[in-house]
């Protein structure tokens, strides 16, 4: 493998795996994409390049540089190919804001989205939905402040926070579909509704964003597995 070759180990339904691919596309970089069929077992390459977590995505640059954790990979792509369009803002204050919201989405918001599907009972489900809606209200405000009237959190172009948040849109839409509700709403989050369409149709995004129906089918499969594991655990 040439020293400048790039490989990405990913999985099509994973929002985290989308992130490096969007970043590479923004920088107009070619790369080899390797689909890991996680439910069939992890490849040797994955286990070798991410021995600590054994998770996708992993970016392998050249023959000896594996990089793990999606947001760390995105920052790496931005810094290693600094001549392309910038992904992170240049101002330290704005960088801190972008990093803050990305961490919030990963640590608090998306786990709440996931928990809607497997919530035990109506109360738990309502609480999860409330958290998700609260988060969207926060993100609408953040979008207003960060975009400064332009189309993306990053301004004129897709940036770090667009990638971090936008990668969750597929699963957000699946959640809306499964629960017959609107979470992104023209009334409550008008800015985000328009931003979401803009993001999903962006050249760097549209080929890596999974189709909502396909994702919904996969979602049913995952929920069934989680429920079965839960039931099995309760039997012991």
């Amino acid at each position: 493998m040439a020293t400048n070759e790039v490989k990405v180990l990913g999985s099509w339904p994973s929002p985290f795996a989308m992130r490096p691919r969007i970043a590479l596309n923004l920088k107009s970089l070619t790369y080899e994409y390797i689909e890991e069929k996680l439910w069939e077992g992890k490849s040797e390459l994955l286990l070798q390049s991410n021995p600590v977590y054994k998770k996708i995505p992993v970016l392998i640059h050249g023959y000896n540089k594996p990089i793990c954790e999606s947001l760390i990979i995105v920052q790496y792509i931005d810094e290693a190919w600094s001549s392309g369009p910038s992904i992170l803002p240049s101002d330290p204050c704005e960088r801190a804001v972008a990093r803050f919201w990305a961490a919030y989405l990963d640590d608090k918001w998306f786990p709440a989205v996931k928990s809607i599907g497997v919530a035990k009972g109506e109360e738990a489900k309502k609480a999860a939905i409330a958290l998700v809606e609260e988060g969207l209200a926060l993100m609408e405000e953040a979008y207003d402040k960060c975009s400064k009237g332009k189309g993306y959190f990053g301004g004129d172009e897709v940036g770090y926070l667009d990638i971090a948040f936008g990668s969750f849109l597929g699963w957000l839409r699946v959640t809306e579909k499964f629960n017959a509700m609107k979470l992104l709403d023209e009334g409550k989050t008008p800015g985000l509704v328009k931003w979401a369409d803009r993001f999903c149709s962006h050249a760097a995004v549209k080929d890596v964003m999974p189709d909502t129906d396909k994702l919904a089918e996969f979602g049913k499969f995952v929920i069934a597995k989680i429920r079965a594991a839960g039931a099995a655990a309760e039997m012991h």
């Binding site: 640059h61 990089i67 990979i73 290693a80 926060l138």
Partner: protein, 219 residues
């Protein structure tokens, strides 16, 4: 570039210690404000409305929340003094990976050690030591994780040393016996004024934990 700098913090917080060390390493003066977490100040609630947590770094009236974000911010704004984050993109990614690992594992496992008993505590101790051993592997033969000088990973990890005595007493084990390289690295870090002045006394932290255990009704 100094402007007005305030750190809202709580003395035993390993997360607050990270920012203290970073600012001290760079010789940046700031105002330290102790928060009473049972009675959070209006300023804290205003500056961190999402999480309502310390530490919060306020620079010229603008808040920076989350300790790892603060350390990166401090390093970027005062980039000419004592750089903490590597300049090479790959070394940076590696450093960020280990800081993220420390964030995911060390605090939570440490908390389980002092909060739980029996099998849960035993499992937490085992995993905690495994994590420290992984970090020892990453350190290798280097003086610091950052090489010849204190770096991002050093700043992120060393604050937890102030809690080691409490973990050891509560968990009835010796971290030095299991991870001597880690303790040797800690001692090198503690020789630095920026670290020694930013970490509270271990006995004091242990007393604090004992108080917390009483409050939470944990034996």
């Amino acid at each position: 570039m100094a402007g007005e700098l305030v750190l809202l913090d709580f003395w035993p917080s390993p997360f607050g210690m990270r920012s203290r060390i970073a600012l001290a390493e760079k010789g940046i003066p700031y105002e330290y404000r102790e928060e009473d977490l049972r009675n959070k100040s209006d300023l804290l609630l205003q500056m961190n409305p999402v999480h309502k947590k310390i530490p919060v770094l306020i620079h010229n009236g603008k808040p920076v929340c989350e300790s790892v974000i603060q350390v990166q911010y401090i390093d970027e704004v005062w980039h000419d003094k004592a750089p903490l984050i590597p300049s090479d993109p790959y070394q940076r990614a590696v450093a960020r990976f280990w800081v993220d690992f420390i964030d995911k594992k060390i605090y939570e496992l440490g908390s389980k050690i002092w909060k739980t008993k029996g099998e849960e505590q035993a499992n937490a101790k085992k995993e905690f030591i495994e994590c420290l051993k992984l970090l020892e592997g990453e350190l290798g033969d280097k003086t610091y994780f950052g090489g010849e000088s204190l770096g991002y990973v050093d700043v992120a990890l060393v604050p937890f040393y102030s809690w080691f005595y409490a973990y050891e007493k509560c968990g009835d084990f010796s971290i030095e016996a299991e991870c001597p390289k880690m303790i040797a690295w800690v001692k090198r870090c503690m020789q630095k004024e920026s670290v020694a002045k930013s970490l509270p006394d271990q006995e004091k932290v242990y007393e604090f934990i004992l108080q917390l255990k009483k409050v939470f009704g944990i034996e």
